[in-house]
Assembly symmetry: C2
Homo-oligomer: 328 residues x 2
């Protein structure tokens, strides 16, 4: 099943989207918003699935063309956003290049930061940023949306709480990150609003590509139209089940919490990278200095995961722009 939120108010309008992403149906009688559906998932999911099957069969009344430019993030205002860094290859490259000491217990305890979740961006939304000199970067990730998870949930029990999968651009400001890491208080200014692919999908849509709580698909990334990488989600060192258990260690997680994988990263260098910072780290390791600059205003990043050559979540394709100091 595929769901999206069309831009409307703070939480968007829930629509069911056809498997090929061509058509959509509004479902106000089932749930007004995706958050509402996620909070009442056991009741709403069967009803939404019925609509989805009719839509795919070309038999849904009142369907309309799905325009991904009208899509907000699936949960534009999520209760919580916790982002892991579950591909250890990425961390190892960063540590090697920038000679930072390895994180304690990096291979047994997932790294995760608390992000802001009140203002998540749509797939084609411009990303407004205050200063081109902040080291503007993208991070290609996969993520999950969960229903309510009790405190101290185990990884095994967490699996049943994964109800939707999403694809994410975790926008990052690299000149601000290292100082924030040194404080020990973690990222805040270095992590402006993240953006999401148009459609959230149930795990069954992936078939064999959803295995061990990991997305076994390439994430195709291009920057201003040029290939940048196609790392595969299968090399995640911690599955989403483990990331959920980590987040729930000392708190219950509200339905609609989003958990991210961190930058998708593969050991095989020919697969490229999921973010500019990682490519620069490889340049430092191989050539002694970084040669790829960060993004400029007007630059575009495109991220897409295909399933058997067909669209899955739809594409993120968005532009970095200067923030208007007068915007509210």
């Amino acid at each position: 099943m595929k769901l999206a939120s069309l831009k409307l108010g703070k939480d968007g309008q829930l629509v069911v989207v056809s498997r090929d992403l061509e058509r959509a149906v509004a479902v106000p009688s089932i749930a007004a918003t995706m958050l509402d559906a996620v909070e009442r998932w056991s009741v709403c999911a069967p009803k939404l699935l019925e609509i989805y099957e009719r839509l795919n069969a070309g038999a849904a009344a009142d369907s309309f063309a799905f325009d991904s430019r009208q899509a907000a993030a699936p949960l534009p205002r999520a209760p919580q956003w916790c982002d892991g860094s579950a591909f250890l290859n990425h961390g190892r490259l960063m540590e090697t290049a920038f000679k930072v000491p390895p994180v304690p217990d990096f291979d047994t305890i997932p790294l995760m930061y608390q992000g802001a979740s009140d203002d998540l961006l749509g797939a084609h939304d411009d990303v407004p940023l205050p200063d081109e000199a902040d080291g503007i970067d993208f991070e290609g990730e996969f993520g999950v949306i969960i229903d309510a998870v009790p405190m101290a949930c185990t990884a095994e029990a967490a699996r049943a709480h994964i109800i939707l999968l999403v694809q994410i651009n975790d926008v990052s400001l690299r000149t601000l990150g290292p100082r924030e890491m040194k404080t020990g208080f973690g990222f805040l200014q270095a992590k402006p609003s993240s953006a999401f692919a148009p459609v959230a999908v149930t795990p069954d849509e992936l078939g064999a590509a959803w295995e061990s709580s990991r997305v076994h698909l390439d994430l195709e990334i291009s920057w201003n139209g040029a290939w940048f990488g196609h790392p595969n989600g299968s090399e995640m060192n911690f599955g989403f089940d483990q990331l959920i258990a980590h987040a729930a260690r000392t708190r219950r997680l509200s339905a609609g919490t989003v958990i991210g994988s961190g930058t998708v990263s593969n050991a095989e260098r020919s697969r490229g990278s999921g973010c500019i910072a990682e490519r620069r780290a490889i340049e430092v390791i191989e050539q002694g200095a970084p040669s790829t600059p960060f993004m400029k205003y007007g630059d575009r990043v495109r991220m897409e995961a295909l399933l058997d050559g067909k669209p899955l979540f739809g594409a993120i394709d968005q532009c970095m722009v200067p923030a208007n100091a007068n915007q509210e």
Copy 2:
């Protein structure tokens, strides 16, 4: 003006509370929830103030006794929670005692972490925690609730966005904090749900005690009935205006964002401490080792700020309890 959220659904029911915290009035025709009122503050505030004045004059129809035990956090599900550490005395004590290197730029750039905001607790709610061995601690803080703040807002411009003041217990798990700080990714497991005093108040309620974007009041803290400290909010090294500007450097802030001061802490030792960790740091400095243990299940903490001897926000008075692994 004083406002509270009675426990109802995820966002509570907005009520106007009398200055003496004795009476309340529901205001569904003005706004159903505090978040709704905060999002439409310029429209709602004058109407709420009219009710508040009638209530204080004993002339409000349909008023009822205000029971702070029925109060949720003012914003039980806030869009965002960013907590500063704006009392440098606290940081200096921690660094001296535990021989950690000083944070870079600690005196010019505020320290701030991103917290979870989806499940904030009421003043008398039990605090469910998974393990007594996690080093259970309280942190007495003041905070502000803001209306929508544009990206890159200056500290000067931020002042007009402070619409409500709150009082906070930032529950902390001290055995988990140091590891999370070392990762550079910041607090996550170390910061379970924070709790809030029953009532949020407009800054004008404080009179001269609201000055330079700081709360110039003692925060009286007791632990199992014994005095623990009464540090004053005036020694904040960064005002809330500066904290807001810090949070808004690379993002716009949604109406209803909560910004915390960090543990209230004074250089004068006879004023005690706002958290156990700070008392332990002083013990390390003065006696070579900490002698005060962290909290046990069943322990209570009480925090209250009085204005001219009268209740202002009402008291936080709550108990630490074991989480039920089966809760949802």
